[in-house]
Every structure is written in structure tokens, then in C-alpha cells.
């Protein structure tokens, strides 16, 4: 029986894959010295390390060697069998390491089994809270942990609970905000689908803290699987007496219901969400009064994000002090990020606050898919901004991102390379906000629409230098006077791209040119005569019949007819179409 396993992967993406060759040579050597019975060698698809040449991992030791050459094989094999010995000059220690607290059970347990959740220590935090801890000490523990709302605003959770706790009222409510409207963000979806009981347990604990007797899950209808799993989990909790009357034999009662969202981004905002549950149109209300004092049906209501609630059981189990040791001085704990866009390994990354953007996007997620350099990383969704590549070593926490003109938001992180246009990106986000605006207040309803108009003009080559000043002026008005966060932050992507990429805006305005080649009106397609093989594929594929010529004389594109669809560029096998 082999006692050691060696995993092999060539992680250099810029050359032909050498995994197989190295694997063969390693096997040959082991066969030579008769060690094949004791060492198993496996070629893997992913070794968790990127762009470090040939990487091997020794198990069960967990030693990783990087940039390994054939000549190193002998030394490595010798070290494998000596106790505690490693080949120092080849050892690789990954800097960035994920810290699975919120996602502790995701991927491990069956989300449809409450027994598996309990077997992992589930509902023991609730038992502690109802038994020895009590509501006062519970809030104290949450305060010590320093956890801040993970929905984006980063408000101290203990404070929200405390406000609601202190209001005398016969009826109080707790709500789990599972609306998750940010494009590209799906952390909450994965938590609800992968570990629904952790969120339910968090919600029950929140209800106990404030004295609520009714709870709601507000889940967006676009998440049918999450709704299904939460529904199943709630029923299982009722069956086991973890919901309903006299929970775990205590005097605490709680009922939980599900309410579905109906496609409105604005309903992720607290007061609009409350309106929606009340059966009204989802429009926000001025605050104060804050929901903790006067919320659902005028009663004290605590609304918490899915990720915030998923943290609660483990904070109670391991203690607030334990949680406060993770993260930075202002931002405790971990954050789950949904890294998407032009990145190799898109997915969810949970890491302690304070990790740098580079660690997340390059070290863990492998950098850009195309291999082209990162241009910027967008964080915080439509309320956020871009962080240019020069600032990728910024440690991620609430304050740092704000200082740079962005926000943490709910955790969406979009990686962009040189093919992404810094006028097009804010245009997308602003378009989203304009579409999602409830229309109640003028700054957002009119301001957003006007700003989008300017961005459209600029991306069509009709912009003027004064437009940038107008964009800034309207942004200020929206920030100061909009009723809710949607309007207040809709201008962030524009302001952020103006801050770091103003020259790119000027290229569009003054030179009528889009450096990224994205804004279709500013892109000109042309046939490179000396590369053109006259195959006629572009001619046959042009939907606007904008290509003239023939196999003898060659082809050319009639600019007046060209709709800039890019089809010719995509179909040409000889790279004879240039795009500029």
C-alpha cells in the first residue's frame, strides 16, 4: 500500500503542458530505484498554485514544491522518505489561504439533511443562547465579535439588535434579507443552497436577542433552489421543535415564513423590502425612523443579510473573542467574495478581512483568463467602484475600499482586463440602476437617466469635454438628495472610473476612440490587405452586406454600411481584420 502520494501539475499556462512528461520521468525514476510500491504519483487538473512552473505536492505531509526541474527529482524523492526533511530551496508556501467560516459546511454536508447539520454541531449555539447565555450576554458576545453587516453597509450588527431590543413592543420582527440583487454576486445564494440551517439558526438567535416572535426570509424569486432548500429546512426545524412553540423546551416561540421577491433590485434596500412584505410597491422610506425602531407594520424590526446570519452560530459557539482575532482592527471576521469576470478560477473565495485584492484575484483565483494584465477590479456591484491594478495590494476591508472610492458591498468582485472599457462598465451599472430605480425621488429618477444619457453620448463619440463636469455635478446632487442607497450610490461607478481612468474618457470625447475596442460606435473594422487570403468568409457572414469585393480584387469594408457587429473579426481565420 503506497504510503506517500505525489501530485503533479505543470502550472505554467504560457507554454505547452508538461505535466504528462514530468509524470513519466518521475515514474521512470521511481521504477529504477524500486519505490513504485511505496509512492503513488498522480497527475492532477488543479493543484491550487498558479504560474509556478511544475508544481508537486507530497501527501500526507502537504509539502508543496514549485518550479521543479527534472534534475530535482532525486533530491525530492530522498527527502520524501526522511522524517521532517524538505528541499528548502524548492518549497512553496502559499501566502493567501482561504478561511472557511461562513462556508464551513458548504460542500461537506447534504443541505437537505438537518441531521447532518446537527452532527456538525448545528443548533448547539441556539441551545447555548436559550440556556446558559440569555439575551443580554448574547448581544454582548456579538458586540465583542465586532461583526458588521455583510449586506454592504457594514453596520455593527450588535447595535442594530440592541436598538430593537430596547424598544418596548408587544410585537417585533426579524427578517433575513436574501434578495441579493448585485449583478455577479451569488454568495448568499450558495449559503442558502449549501447550508440553509446555518442561516435559520442565525435568524432564530437574532429573534431571541431582540424579543421577536415572527421571522421572515425575503428571498428573491430568481433563486428557486434556495427557496426550495430553505422551505425544506424550515419544515425540518419545525418537526424537530427548533421552530414554533417552546423551542428546545424553553419559553421562546418563533414562527418563520418565506416571502418571495419579484425582480426588483430596490427591494434589497431595508425599507423597500419592508414595503414589499407589507404587500405594497417596493419603494424606500426616509430614515429615521430606522426599521429597528419602527419597521414592518410599524413594529421594531431587525433585518440582517444572509452572510451576517450564517456567522452568528459559530460566533456564539467559539466566542466573540475568537472571531475578533480574525480580520483587521476595524473589520473583523472573514468575507465571502464572488470573484467573476475575466478571471481563471471564478467562484467563491472566503478569506479573512485584510487579505489583499492581489491575493484574492491572482494567488487564489489564478489571474486573468486571457493572460493579459489585469486592468482593474470592480467591487461592490452597482454601488461600488473600480480599483486599478496599481492598487491591487490594498488590504480589503470596509474602510480601505471606501478610501479608494469603492465599497466592499455584498462581495461581488469583477476582474477586468484591457478589453474592458472604463466608459462601458459604468454605463452598464448606471443603466442597471436607471432600470431598477423605483422612481419615487427626483434625484435618482431624473439624475440617473440624465447621467446615462451623457455616458451613451460619450460612448457613441458624441461627447463634449463639458460633459464630465455635468456628470460630476449630477452625481453630487444624487449623492446628497436621493432617498435611498440606490440613488445615493448609483453614481459611484462613474465617479470611480473618472478618478482613475479620466484619460480613457478623454480618448472617447476628444479622439472619438475606444482604446479597449468595446464601444461599437467608435470601433472601426478594416481588412488588412496583406494578411487577407481572399477566402470570402467575411463577405458571406456580414449581416449588413457591408463588405464589397471579390476573390480576385480582394475585399474591403464599407464604413457607412458597417454596423460594427464584429462578425467579420470573429470569423476571419487569418487575423486579417483589424479592430481600432
Amino acid at each position: 500500500m503506497p504510503i506517500k502520494v505525489i501530485l503533479v501539475k505543470d502550472t505554467d499556462s504560457k507554454r505547452a503542458d508538461q505535466t504528462r512528461d514530468f509524470h513519466t520521468r518521475l515514474l521512470d525514476y521511481l521504477r529504477e530505484i524500486n519505490l513504485l510500491e511505496q509512492i503513488r504519483v498522480v497527475r492532477v487538473a488543479d493543484i491550487g498554485v498558479y504560474e509556478q512552473g511544475i508544481v508537486i505536492k507530497i501527501l500526507p505531509d502537504n509539502t508543496i514544491y514549485a518550479n521543479v526541474a527534472d534534475s530535482d527529482i532525486k533530491r525530492i524523492v530522498e527527502a520524501v522518505f526522511k522524517e521532517n526533511e524538505v528541499v528548502q530551496d524548492l518549497v512553496f508556501k502559499p501566502k493567501a489561504k482561504q478561511c472557511r467560516i461562513v462556508l464551513r459546511n458548504c460542500g461537506k454536508i447534504n443541505p437537505e439533511s438537518i441531521e447532518e447539520y446537527i452532527a456538525c454541531g448545528g443548533y448547539l449555539a441556539l441551545k447555548k443562547v436559550l440556556g446558559e447565555l440569555g439575551a443580554q450576554k448574547l448581544v454582548e458576545e456579538i458586540k465583542i465579535s465586532g461583526i458588521r453587516g455583510r449586506g454592504g453597509a457594514g453596520y455593527p450588527t450588535w447595535m442594530k439588535w440592541n436598538f430593537a431590543r430596547e424598544v418596548a413592543s408587544a410585537e417585533k420582527f426579524v427578517i433575513c434579507n436574501a434578495d441579493e440583487g448585485d449583478p455577479g454576486a451569488y454568495m448568499d445564494r450558495s449559503i442558502l443552497e449549501g447550508d440553509p440551517h446555518s442561516v435559520i439558526e442565525g435568524l432564530i438567535i437574532a429573534a431571541f436577542a431582540v424579543g421577536a416572535s415572527k421571522g421572515y426570509f425575503y428571498i428573491r424569486a430568481e433563486y428557486p433552489l434556495a427557496v426550495e432548500r430553505i422551505e425544506k429546512a424550515i419544515k425540518q426545524a419545525y418537526d424537530y421543535g427548533l421552530l414554533g412553540k417552546n423551542i428546545l423546551g424553553s419559553s421562546f416561540d418563533l414562527d418563520i415564513d418565506i416571502r418571495l421577491g419579484a425582480g426588483a433590485f430596490v427591494c434589497g434596500e431595508e425599507t423597500a423590502l419592508i414595503s414589499s412584505i407589507e404587500g405594497k410597491r417596493g419603494t424606500p422610506h426616509p430614515r429615521p425612523p430606522y426599521p429597528s425602531v419602527k419597521g414592518l407594520w410599524g413594529k421594531p424590526t431587525v433585518i440582517n443579510n444572509v452572510e451576517t446570519l450564517a456567522n452568528i452560530p459559530i460566533i456564539i459557539s467559539k466566542g466573540g473573542k475568537w472571531f475578533a482575532q480574525i480580520g483587521t482592527s476595524t473589520s473583523k471576521g472573514t468575507k465571502v467574495f464572488a470573484v467573476t469576470g475575466k478571471v481563471k478560477n471564478s467562484g467563491l473565495v472566503e478569506i479573512a478581512m485584510g487579505a489583499t485584492l492581489r491575493e484574492i484575484v491572482v494567488d487564489i483565483c489564478g489571474g486573468t483568463l486571457s493572460g493579459k494584465p489585469i486592468k482593474a477590479v470592480q467591487t461592490g456591484g452597482p454601488s461600488g467602484g473600480v480599483i486599478p491594478k496599481e492598487l491591487l495590494d490594498t488590504p480589503v476591508d470596509y474602510e480601505n475600499l471606501q478610501k479608494l472610492g469603492s465599497i466592499m458591498g455584498s462581495g461581488g468582485m469583477i476582474v477586468m482586463d484591457e478589453d474592458d472599457c472604463m466608459v462601458d462598465i459604468p454605463k452598464f451599472y448606471l443603466g442597471f440602476c436607471v432600470e431598477e430605480s423605483c422612481g419615487k425621488c427626483s434625484p435618482c429618477r431624473i439624475g440617473g437617466f440624465q447621467m446615462l444619457g451623457y455616458l451613451n453620448k460619450i460612448s457613441e463619440g458624441k461627447g463634449r469635454p463639458e460633459d464630465l463636469g455635468q456628470l460630476r455635478r449630477i452625481s453630487q446632487a444624487m449623492q446628497k438628495a436621493s432617498l435611498c442607497g440606490l440613488g445615493q450610490t448609483a453614481s459611484n461607478p462613474v465617479l470611480s472610473t473618472l478618478k482613475y481612468f479620466e484619460p480613457e474618457y478623454n480618448e472617447h470625447i476628444l479622439n472619438k476612440r475606444c482604446p479597449a475596442g468595446k464601444c461599437s460606435s467608435l470601433v472601426n473594422y478594416g481588412i488588412i490587405a496583406d494578411k487577407c487570403k481572399r477566402c470570402g468568409i467575411c463577405f458571406t457572414n456580414c449581416p449588413a452586406k457591408a463588405i464589397t469585393g471579390g476573390k480576385e480584387a480582394g475585399y474591403s469594408i464599407m464604413q457607412e454600411k458597417c454596423t460594427k457587429c464584429g462578425r467579420c473579426f470573429d470569423v476571419c481565420k487569418f487575423k486579417a481584420i483589424n479592430k481600432k
Partner: protein, 115 residues
Amino acid sequence: MNKLTPGDLDQMSQVPTDKPKDWIKVGMSSCGIAAGAEEVFNFFVEEVKKRNLQIEIKKCGCAGACYAEPLVEVKVEGLPPVIYGTVNKEIATKILEKHVISKMLVNDCIFEVLA
């Protein structure tokens, strides 16, 4: 089902979830299902029945490595638990024939080996 008491919770939390039995876990969250995990899961259930293998096919949530879905974790006695990525029916067949039956890890398809 009986309403739980605090004592019941303590007892149930001691139950080991990974009994010595062999199992295959398929990631079945939206990301996995979008990548084809449901077909892979159903394929495993069918094939295990056809081949009469003593191995449980289980579901789990999203482990975070969405780029590598469908993710399948395999635990077979005598081998470390292994996570295979971008699994399709072809790779699923190899997992059953090589890994489960012949106790040999399937090269080129592994995303993580849990020591």
C-alpha cells in the same frame, strides 16, 4: 419526529457523519447544476445500481470552486478523499471503474486530494 431537547442535540452532534462506508458526493447547488451536476448525480445513481456497487451517492452544496463544477468528492476505503472537477459522464465512468472498483486515482481529473 420528536421535538428535540438540549440533551438530544448533544447526542446527535456526536454522530460521525462520515462513517467508514464509501461514498461519492456531488455538488448540487445552482452553479453545479448549471454545469451539469444533476446529470452526473443521476448517472452515478443509475450506474451504481447497474453495477451493484456498495457506495452511497450523496448531495452537497457549493464548495466555492465554481469554475471547476461539477465537483465530485470520492471517498473509498484505502484511498484519501479526492475531489474531481469538471466531471462529465465519461469521467464519472472512469471514477467508478478506476477509482471505486480498481482503487486507482483517475489522472488529470483531480482538483484536490484531502490528506
